[in-house]
């Protein structure tokens, strides 16, 4: 094992690998057992003694098994991060940031320079990644070690090529569970937050993208992973379009600084969520019928040819909804799709290519898929499968293009639900900030014209 492979890492090694270690390698316990408490020191989980038990008074962690099992039979191996980087990369991206984006990018850079814990609340479709570039360029030029992590593999897969293109003279390390390539020590890393559990005080700058992404939103291990992977003197930047209550509380307590980007790149406000209360939407569907308001919206789409997405809480409801639509609008073409659908990619592509007018889907399309000019209908938005964050993301599918920066977001609820209200409130809040920014911008441009 080479020293480089252990810089800033905390690795679980086999006895054979542990026989030949570079000088100075630290051997750290993997589990802490005190009285009734068993805690995993890699992922931070407090474990139930009963379940964590192995024969012979040994213990293991059942929460981070996919990274290889840690137990009282094993240790973690670590070398302090020396920042041994040569050929410091500079920014090769030649795109332009808008005025508000530039302000935000400067704020991000300042947070890196001051080694702050910072939250950037940027609306869906604001162009978050580009706003990172100036700050990242500064950090890399300083010889700092940088990671951009996300709870979701698909976000990492989308980020990696964009960062690689923006810093073309260096090689970006990409780490996630589906990556078979061996680990290489690099200055810039893109990884899942799960992979952060293999790092210890490695990064001077750590960016967490889509921090509130399903399904890790309420995962206490995330905070632990971040705090252990970043150097005590490092900077952490959280990026989100839908901050959780926990994050906002950290802002209130002064543990996080915050900045907003409330406007999309095309400078329009977010479409508002329109709630329709219909206690019987589902019983109507069970009789093959759509409730009146939905009929009305679909009639408009049938005439205008506008594309739309219908979200439902459960996979079993997909076919029923589509059958009801087909009965009323036999000429309108549509498909159903869910996350584990083997034809998922193909169906989404058909929607992109405008071969079909609509998709009936479960929550999976909420992120990453951009379909210009669409409207969105959520049936049963009050169902617990839709979190506040998910609803904000779903609403964020609408109005993404410069050509049609507006659109309708209909949410049909059987009853009032707090998370629907919260989603409305979040959107209204950023829109108020966005309106203020728009007013400032228009004052600026009037002054400039004089």
């Amino acid at each position: 094992m080479q020293a480089k492979e252990l810089y800033g890492r905390q690795l679980l090694l086999t006895p054979v690998e542990a026989q030949q270690l570079p000088a100075g390698t630290q051997k750290l316990p993997a589990l802490k057992v005190t009285g009734q408490q068993v805690q995993c020191l890699r992922c931070g989980s407090q474990l139930q003694r009963r379940w964590a038990q192995l024969p012979d008074h040994h213990y293991y962690c059942y929460q981070c098994l996919t990274l290889g099992r840690v137990s009282t039979l094993t240790s973690l191996y670590h070398l302090p991060e020396p920042n041994a980087f040569t050929d410091l990369p500079s920014l090769t991206w030649d795109g332009q940031l808008t005025g508000p984006q530039t302000d935000c990018a400067n704020r991000v850079k300042a947070a890196f320079q001051a080694r702050q814990r910072h939250l950037l609340w940027a609306v869906t479709g604001a162009g978050k990644t580009e706003m990172l570039f100036p700050g990242l360029a500064w950090a890399l030029q300083q010889g700092l070690r940088v990671a951009v992590a996300s709870p979701r593999v698909d976000v990492c897969l989308e980020l990696a090529p964009r960062l690689q293109a923006a810093f073309a003279t260096t090689t970006v390390a990409v780490l996630h569970g589906r990556q078979p390539a061996p680990y290489v020590y690099r200055q810039l890393t893109v990884c899942t937050t799960h992979q952060l559990l293999r790092f210890r005080e490695a990064f001077d700058v750590l960016v967490i993208d889509e921090v509130d992404a399903f399904p890790f939103a309420a995962n206490p291990r995330l905070t632990y992973a971040v705090e252990h992977a970043v150097k005590p003197t490092g900077a952490v930047l959280y990026l989100t379009a839908t901050p959780s209550r926990e994050l906002l509380q950290q802002v209130k307590r002064g543990q996080l600084t915050i900045s907003y980007l409330p406007l999309r790149f095309h400078r329009h406000l977010l479409p508002k969520i329109q709630v329709t209360l219909a206690p019987k939407w589902w019983s109507h569907l069970q009789h093959g019928k759509l409730i009146k308001p939905v009929q009305r919206w679909l009639t408009q789409y049938a005439t205008s040819g506008r594309r739309f997405l219908i979200f439902v809480p459960r996979i079993s409801q997909l076919a029923i909804v589509q059958a009801a639509i087909q009965r009323m609008f036999p000429k309108m073409m549509g498909l159903t799709v869910y996350s584990a659908d083997p034809e998922r990619l193909d169906k989404v592509q058909q929607m992109r290519d405008q071969q079909v007018q609509y998709l009936v889907t479960t929550t999976i399309l909420e992120r990453g898929v951009t379909l210009p000019g669409i409207d969105v209908i959520v049936l049963g938005a009050d169902d617990a499968v839709f979190s506040t964050a998910a609803l904000v993301q779903i609403a964020g599918r609408v109005g993404r293009s410069r050509d049609r920066p507006t659109g309708a977001v209909h949410m049909v609820c059987a009853s009032h639900a707090r998370h629907v209200k919260q989603a409305q409130r979040q959107i209204n809040l950023v829109n108020r900030k966005g309106q203020r920014l728009l007013n400032e911008l228009s004052t600026l441009s009037t002054t400039a014209n004089h």
Partner: protein
């Protein structure tokens, strides 16, 4: 509590029948969907020698390659399908010892239907014990430690089972012996418990040791075949 296999919340439904039966309530540890992934083997039609799932109760092709052994047969609980493969991957190779609970009740219940004088588990070798930290078979039956009186000879750990083909496995010589202190097997019926019956080599060699030491008959009991 969540399902040990898919992590989804478990909903325990108490039926009236259960309540009236006055039986202790065995809390399920896996959800019904995950449990349905395991295919139980029908003993009526299984191979009488190795317990393989079949449509007709005749000695299967694999078993015809073994010398006739009237004092031994194997009984298997489930088919070795993809659900079982995933289970063993998580239990044995990832080392999630919690998963012993999945087959604990089922295996103990089956054992209680077999009239045995002595029950012994196939041991894991010391190197595995060092890294995995438990014996997967006694995990189902007891505390997860080797039984102690059936031991592996040191030479067998040189080559891992998985890297050997069928011929190699059949040719390997007796890997087991009894420890100096062991129960008297004379005239006894011994049940040997193992995780999977694949070629039958492991459990048949263990059976041979028992018979050589005076056992009257040996029954193999495996979770999968």
């Amino acid at each position: 509590m969540n399902c040990l296999l898919c992590q989804r919340p478990l909903t325990t439904k108490l039926t009236l029948k259960w309540v009236l039966s006055w039986q202790p309530i065995v809390r399920p540890v896996v959800c019904s969907l995950c449990w349905q992934g395991f295919r139980p083997i029908d003993r009526q039609t299984a191979c009488p020698d190795c317990g393989r799932a079949q449509l007709q109760p005749q000695v299967c092709r694999d078993c015809r390659r073994w010398p006739t052994q009237t004092q031994f047969y194997n009984q298997a609980l489930f088919e070795y399908n993809s659900a079982m493969q995933a289970y063993f991957k998580a239990y044995k190779f990832q080392g999630d010892f919690r998963l012993r609970a999945v087959f604990q009740a089922r295996l103990k219940q089956t054992l209680s239907t077999i009239k045995a004088d002595v029950v012994v588990a196939i041991p894991v070798n010391p190197a595995t014990m060092q890294t995995r930290g438990f014996n997967q078979v006694t995990g189902w039956l007891a505390a997860g430690e080797n039984d102690g009186w059936l031991v592996t000879l040191a030479t067998t750990k040189a080559i891992k089972q998985a890297t050997k083909n069928r011929q190699d496995r059949l040719l390997t010589t007796q890997p087991f012996q009894l420890a100096a202190e062991h129960p008297d097997l004379t005239g006894k019926t011994v049940v040997i418990v193992d995780d999977v019956y694949t070629t039958g080599r492991t459990i048949r060699y263990a059976a041979m040791v028992m018979l050589e030491n005076g056992a009257k008959s040996v029954i193999g009991l495996t979770v999968a075949r």
